[in-house]
């Protein structure tokens, strides 16, 4: 296997252009193009995962009003808001480059290299399953992948700056939007290089240089700056139109009514526990959950880690996931028990009502 990889920086682009490049380069990788590291930047974009639904994930009216472009990724995972404050990194690579065919192991290995990149910037980053890169429990980047045959695309973001309020408006998340509490709560769950490093915050170009070095070392490769091939440009031109079209963006759209908000609040002996969640009622999955309250828990990040463990989870697996979470780590709670948390989660699920009163996106 060749050590020589191509390095491409495609600069600041629209949602449809970035998605079209993902698709063109993955297809090209399958056709035998060299392994490639691509850096990308984002004009304001709301990007849903391949299997997600715009109506369920995004406030379409807000995005249209604000000129935020919408597209659907070819990769998995959840909806994102991206703008000029983030960089994206992507590997297009033959899967036989890795010693394993286990997809979770490959993701973990690639994320581990991204974590090393952040650490060399002076940020105490770590990988949190299933796909977050976090600092002290706060997400500083998300990742996801796609494959076709032996060609893999694995991508991630790094938040240099981030507009939390704007994200809360763009994404349909189970919080009372734009209340001070919701903004404070989101800020407890997300961080940025600027929040970590203040005046030492690197430029986008410096972050890219550090990540290029991390991938060079982590994969044992040589990076050679390059450009798109003629064949890739042709594919890109074709997909740029398709990836911006409603046919692509809304292909997997599903009724807003399939997603319900669940909430419950309970005074336990350990304090007040409040759960807000979104539930996919058709697939019987917990999409996203926020757990807040005035209970004592140490380390504080444990509750955000628990939220991450519960994200996108079959409802039937909630109890075993909570139990396994607390068995697997040293968490100190005062009077509050894992059983209390399970009780409030189940109370929230019993509260589920379809959201008929909310406007449907399309």
């Amino acid at each position: 296997m060749s050590r020589a990889w191509r390095l491409i920086d495609t600069g600041m682009r629209s949602a449809a252009e970035n998605m079209a490049l993902d698709r063109a380069l993955l297809e090209s990788c399958q056709a035998g193009a060299p392994n490639t590291l691509r850096f990308l930047r984002f004009e304001p974009s709301a990007l849903i995962g391949f299997h997600q639904s715009v109506s369920q994930e995004l406030d379409l009216d807000y995005c249209r009003r604000e000129g935020i472009a919408i597209s659907r990724r070819i990769t998995g995972g959840g909806a994102l808001y991206c703008d000029q404050g983030q960089i994206g990194w992507e590997l297009f690579v033959d899967r036989r480059t890795f010693a394993t065919a286990d997809m979770l192991a490959i993701a973990r290995q690639v994320c581990g290299i991204a974590v090393e990149g952040l650490r060399s910037l002076g940020v105490d980053a770590a990988f949190r399953p299933r796909n977050d890169i976090e600092v002290a429990g706060r997400k500083i980047g998300g990742t996801g992948g796609a494959f076709d045959g032996n060609a893999l695309l694995y991508q991630g973001t790094v938040l240099i700056d981030f507009d939390v309020e704007r994200m809360l408006r763009v994404l349909r998340i189970p919080q009372e939007k734009l209340s001070d509490k919701a903004i404070a709560s989101a800020r407890e769950r997300i961080t940025t290089l600027r929040a970590c490093l203040s005046e030492d915050t690197p430029s986008a170009a410096s972050v890219q240089a550090v990540f290029a070095k991390a991938f060079t070392q982590g994969l044992g490769i040589d990076l050679e700056p390059g450009d798109l091939s003629a064949a890739e440009r042709d594919l890109y031109a074709r997909y740029r139109i398709e990836m911006g079209s409603d046919d692509w963006v809304f292909e997997t759209d599903r009724p807003r009514l399939e997603v319900a908000t669940a909430s419950a609040m309970r005074k336990t002996t350990g304090g007040l526990v409040r759960v807000m969640a979104t539930v996919d009622t058709v697939r019987e999955r917990l999409k996203q959950v926020f757990i807040t309250g005035d209970f004592f828990i140490n380390p504080r990040r444990a509750i955000v880690d628990l939220e991450a463990a519960l994200r996108d989870l079959a409802l039937e697996k909630i109890d075993e996931t909570v139990d396994a979470f607390f068995q697997g780590r040293a968490v100190e709670m005062l009077l509050l028990t894992p059983k209390d948390l399970k009780t409030v989660l189940h109370e929230a699920l019993r509260s589920v009502e379809p959201q008929g009163h909310e406007r449907v996106g399309v």
Partner: protein
């Protein structure tokens, strides 16, 4: 039922080993297509399933459905050319069924094949399939299901 490194590989099915998919000719002439237990083990829990629409014509080794697991999205490649005659509603609402019962309730699509007799010759069955999966698992550093 044959087992390779703990992964069930039923000997009565026809496999495209590279694409990690199986096909079964049914009495009515249709072909049921699914992912192997090995593919499921590599993927982890499957959380989303988008099949091609019924009536769609698909060439051999092209995608008849897209699935997602652990944030990875990828195609299920049909081992034979044909048109989709049925998609699996049970899997649509519970994609994890593919992992639970990859050769039964977790089937991916049913196809009306255009040339089963011709194309099935290139698929592997029985002991040939078992040894091909053994070699594949070896080259992919796979420990076991």
């Amino acid at each position: 039922m044959a087992s390779v490194r703990g992964c069930n590989i039923p000997e009565d099915l026809s496999y495209n080993v590279d694409n990690n998919v199986w096909a079964r000719r049914e009495a009515d002439g249709t072909v049921t297509v699914g992912l192997t237990a090995y593919a499921c083990s590599l993927a982890g829990e499957i959380v989303a399933y988008t099949p091609k629409k019924a009536g769609k014509d698909i060439a051999k080794d092209k995608s008849c459905a897209t699935v997602e697991s652990g944030k990875w999205v990828g195609p299920v490649k049909t081992p034979v050319t044909g048109s989709v005659v049925a998609i699996n509603d049970a899997v649509a609402s519970k994609p994890g069924l593919i992992n639970k019962d990859p050769y039964g309730e977790g089937w991916v699509v049913k196809m009306k094949p255009s040339d089963w007799d011709g194309e099935s010759k290139s698929l592997k069955a029985g002991g040939d399939a078992v040894s091909a999966f053994e070699a594949k698992m070896d080259s992919e550093g796979f420990k076991g299901c």
